[in-house]
Symmetry: C2
Subunit: 225 residues, 2 copies
DNA sequence: ATAATACTCGAACGCCTGTTCTGTGTCAAG
DNA sequence: CTTGACACAGAACAGGCGTTCGAGTATTAT
């Protein structure tokens, strides 16, 4: 017959250490040292703290940077810092060209004119790319299911694959629009996102400038606050 | 005549240090040491790094925990921890009721079934509230400018003010819908977000269950990645 | 020119911290 | 009883790290 001393994987000691790391991190903005953990959890020896820390690492509750001071960090509750800052470079509306930022602009973003998006929300490996955001002005994009005030996040590009939602400038028509892009035999098909609406066709002779690929749309439904 | 050596507040050296701290933090999950900064920025003396760090602290670009190893952290680009974790409790579609989570559910969110939203994106003081997210299934919400696959974030509530976008369950019609809510003299007007579409009117005798107020809509336009 | 300021270097000091090793007591299995 | 895994203490070691000081050089103002 075999009896376990502590119920299962995590004993009371483990939990207390976990809690302490979390609260310490919140308060000090950086992780505690082994000795600080020991002090709080009434462990007089650093080796014992190390002992538990090893277990917590094996069980996946924490990560450790060995040899490095205060190299403990919680795994689960702290995926933080994983936010993406995207510069808000202007507005997008039917009658105006799309303001695509130059590469130089990406370095000097102004915190006020940018939005933050959690990385976990980002489509796969769109992360790390140069993205920019535009605020939709007017109701000219409703056929793309994008409303006035919405924020569209795009990645600058000149070409698109079939099925991509792109922002295009139709210089012949002097118009900016958001559509799904399909290249067909002798023309381009620009399909509205709203399935009840019909596509428009652009002859390949017509000027069609793809400005970017839409990565995300964010709609804040706040009202007079 | 007065010439400034470096353009304004931040010189090239300052900027490089700032950039390095940011990239190091991303890669190592913890801040660099003074010596590591010096190595990267071609500064041979730790005192010089300290010299610049002091300036960056005074100018408010970084925060320092003196005496503590790797106690540098960016202030501006790292308002981190300011993310909101919202439980994804299910799907919303025309033919199905809305799964509103019980209060107890909010505590035990599963990281996998939740999304993170930067607080700066949140409508004013929606922060700290109990919010939940639903994934839109089907194209039945297109009249609300919400497409298949979109994520709607709502705040549970039973009543709405005029102009709020609400998620309602019309039990008489056995239908879930997202509409702008207006209370009129003898009936409710449910206005589609798409301005080209007509509102529907619900008599006050009909059952109209408001399940929540829409706070945000997020559309990820990723395609087969 | 001269002085003040900004910037840079190198080295040494000393604390902080993670690591490791030895030793003790408990408890259950053989 | 012996064995061994487990939980813990204490001490010592070695390296990492922030701090400080003394000194030198360039740039700018007076």
């Amino acid at each position: 017959m075999m009896m376990v001393r502590k119920s299962k994987g995590l004993g009371e000691r483990h939990q207390k250490i976990l809690d302490f790391i979390a609260s310490y991190q919140r308060e000090h903005k950086h992780p505690p040292s082994i000795r600080e953990i020991g002090e709080d959890c009434d462990i007089s020896s650093t080796s014992v703290v190390n002992y538990y820390l090893d277990q917590l690492e094996k069980s996946g509750n924490i990560e450790r940077d060995r040899k490095i001071s205060r190299g403990v960090r919680l795994t689960a509750p702290t995926p933080m810092g994983d936010m993406f800052r995207i510069p808000m470079v202007g507005v997008i509306q039917a009658g105006e060209p799309i303001p695509v930022p130059s590469n130089a602009d990406f370095g000097s973003f102004t915190p006020e004119d940018s939005i933050e998006v959690a990385m976990s929300l980002m489509p796969t490996k769109e992360k790390g790319k140069e993205l920019f955001a535009l605020k939709v002005q007017g109701e000219s994009m409703i056929d793309a299911m994008v409303n006035d005030g919405d924020i569209v996040i795009l990645r600058p590009t000149q070409d698109a694959r079939n099925g991509d939602m792109v922002a295009v400038w139709l210089s012949d028509r002097n118009e900016t629009t958001l559509k799904f892009f399909f290249k067909e035999k002798d023309k381009y098909r620009l399909q509205p996102a709203n399935p009840t609406m019909k596509p428009i066709y652009i002859d390949k002779s017509e000027a069609l400038e793809i400005k970017g690929k839409v990565v995300m749309v964010i709609r804040k439904v706040e009202r007079y606050n």
